[in-house]
Structures are given as structure tokens and as C-alpha cells.
Symmetry: C2
Subunit: 214 residues, 2 copies
């Protein structure tokens, strides 16, 4: 059955998915890149960019699993790019070049409508101005039997969590302190929302936690 899931989502020990002071030069905020250190060396990540071998093992298994059986993605506008407000033109097509690593329809949450963009390799970016439930509905139609991955950022995941629309989360807890930034947990009672940790698997550079709705 098709699942709505968060996968390979990295957070710091103190619960931040991105650091403070985000900018075009530093889209993940101060220290924000460090929480992804477990993923960068993996074979799965290296292969996305056509690079060499990469590491195998637990961390790579989780990185690989995060892309399996996906039928659609949903992401926030800040994950798609740095443009704020009205789109000045159609030139911004994401951070990922002509052939983005999605290869399925990607629904971008925005308050500013825009024409869909067909990229190479099967990725199409659709812009949804109707809110998180409208985006999920369109993603479900597009995904068929495939899973829907809620990519991020933190605020998008929090909105879907609060609406109890996420079936499963794989969080990678990195041995890093960010101190400030976008907290995944602050002000959200995941226990009350029905989530439990169902699996804990140590990796080399992160601890993998699987959360599921009871």
C-alpha cells in the first residue's frame, strides 16, 4: 500500500533540521550541512551525482531505502529554491541541474502559482498553491501504488505531522549540535499525535530512528 513518508531526514542531537541564518550561500544555515555528514559518503548519494564508489553498510542502506518505491515527492518552496514572493520569471528550476535526482512528479508548496516544469529524467515540478492537503491529493493521484515522500524542510514536515498525515518517518540523528535553527520537535507533541519509535539502528555517522503512527 502507498505510504506517506519522511526518509533520510537528518537532525542534530538537539533536534534541528537546519541551522540559523540561512542564506543563498548557506541554504542549510550555520552548521546545517554537518547533520548530513552520514549521507554524503554513501554509495547512494555519490551515485546521484555520477561520482565514484561510495560507502556501503547501514548508512547507505537507509539512504537507498529513502528512494525506493517512490511515486511522488512533496517539498516546501524553500527546499526548491531561494526565491521568495512572486516568481520574477521561470529561470529558477531548483538546485539540482537539468536532471534532478527525483525522477517522479514533485509537488512544490507555494503561495505563488507557476507553470509546471518538465525536467530531464522523469522529474516534473508542479507548484501547488492550495495548501498541504491539496498537494497530498495531487501527489496521491500521481503516485499510484508508489510512496509519497515528504522531502522537507522542517516546517513542511511539521505541518504534515500536525495534520497526522505522515505514516512513517526515518530520522537520522547526527552527533552534532546546532544550538539554534529549525526544530523538528519544539511545540509538537508527537506522542500525543500517535507516533512511536519502532526501530533504532546505529549507523557509522548517525543513529537511524524509525517512527510510525500507532
Amino acid at each position: 500500500m502507498s505510504k506517506v513518508r519522511v526518509a533520510a531526514f537528518s537532525i542534530s542531537l538537539d533536534g534541528y533540521g537546519a541551522g540559523p541564518d540561512q542564506s543563498l550561500q548557506d541554504p542549510l544555515g550555520r552548521g546545517g550541512e554537518e547533520v548530513h555528514n552520514w549521507m554524503f559518503p554513501t554509495r547512494t548519494f555519490q551515485a546521484l551525482y555520477g561520482r565514484g564508489e561510495g560507502t556501503t553498510g547501514v548508512d547507505d542502506d537507509f539512504a537507498a531505502r529513502s528512494f525506493e518505491k517512490l511515486g511522488a515527492w512533496i517539498m516546501g518552496r524553500n527546499m526548491f529554491g531561494p526565491v521568495r514572493g512572486d516568481w520574477p520569471d521561470d529561470s529558477w528550476k531548483g538546485w539540482w541541474g537539468d536532471n534532478p535526482p527525483y525522477h517522479v512528479p514533485v509537488f512544490v508548496l507555494t503561495h505563488h502559482p507557476r507553470q509546471s516544469i518538465e525536467m530531464e529524467g522523469g522529474t516534473t515540478f508542479h507548484f501547488v498553491a492550495g495548501g498541504i492537503e491539496a498537494a497530498l491529493e495531487r501527489a496521491r493521484e500521481a503516485a499510484g501504488e508508489g510512496d509519497i515522500r515528504i522531502g522537507g524542510g522542517v516546517s513542511v514536515i511539521r505541518q504534515y505531522l500536525q495534520a497526522r498525515l505522515i505514516d512513517e518517518l526515518h530520522l537520522a540523528v547526527s552527533p552534532v549540535l546546532l544550538g539554534r535553527g529549525e526544530s523538528l520537535f519544539q511545540g509538537i507533541d508527537l506522542r500525543e499525535l500517535g507516533y512511536r519509535v519502532v526501530e533504532q539502528v546505529p549507523g557509522v555517522a548517525a543513529t537511524h530512528m524509525i517512527l510510525s503512527r500507532a
Copy 2:
């Protein structure tokens, strides 16, 4: 050299050291006991209460290490007991019976002065009304070459962190969601205060993280 340290301090995945709705019946709050599940079965913990064998391995190693080389403890009044306000009499002597598992001087932070209590086995409870720095000064005198362990609860640890008085923390991150309660991290920028994660060790029922001031 004598260190000021937090050790075997359990937190949930979402960063809480205790759950909400604490009471005399439920001193750790809703779900708060679950974050300690890694420690209960260990040989070290079982031995404290004169029980049988217990488990060995990484979790037990960390539990054992948390008691090594200690010269004094500091704890908040809520960790010492449920009495609030003025002490009605001298009958409350902690949660731990006649022979508490400390065996060194223990400095209890309180706004309400009280005579020291000498217990069996080397534990003496001293009550310090002068604040965290006064308590640390007295603990240093008492500890000599031994380490000073800041036992908790969360608010006491936060005060010492913000004053940059803690040299090392061992946190045990449990695969548990508490949702609400006393957050160790919320509103404290540990990175800015100079702390870094220097070691990450997977246990069976928790992930052990060692933090140290750079």
C-alpha cells in the same frame, strides 16, 4: 584533574529529560520512566539495589562509568524529593532509603535552608540556598581530586550549562518520544556555549553521546 560532569543522563529522541504532569506518584512525568529503560537492566543499576546479575556491555559500561571517581554530587531539590516550599520537618530523606547510592557528599539546591543529614554508606545531604555557584564551590571543596556529578533534573543542568560550568556530558538518547516535558535543549544554544559532540557510541537500548567544551 577534577571534572564537573553530567553522566548517564537519559533523554528522549525529542529532547526531554522528564515527561509532563509530574507528581508524587509519577515523579518523572508521563512516559518519563521509559527514557531510562537502557539503564534498568544493567549490572551496575541492579547492583545498586542489591539485585542479581544484570546485563553487561556498552550500556552497563556507561552506567558504571557514571559512578567512577566521583567526589561529590549536586542535584536539584525536585530530584531529592517531592516536598515544595519550606521543609515541614526533617522526615524526608530522599527517595533512596537509609543507604543511598551516592556514598559521597550530595549538595541539594534549595531556597529553603535545612540541617545536613548524614546517611548510611558515606552519603551526606547538604542543603545549599546560595545558588548554583555556591553549591559548586562547596562541592569542589568536598570532592578534592574527585569529579563532581551534576545529577539533575533538567533545570539544574540547564543552569550549569548556561553558566558554562560543565566540562563533560554523557547523554543517553532513548528511542522514545515524550512529546512534552522538560526539554534539555530548547532555548539553549549549546554550540554557542562551546559544546561539541566528541563521541557517539551505540548501545542496545540507547545511543550514548559525549559532549565536551571545546
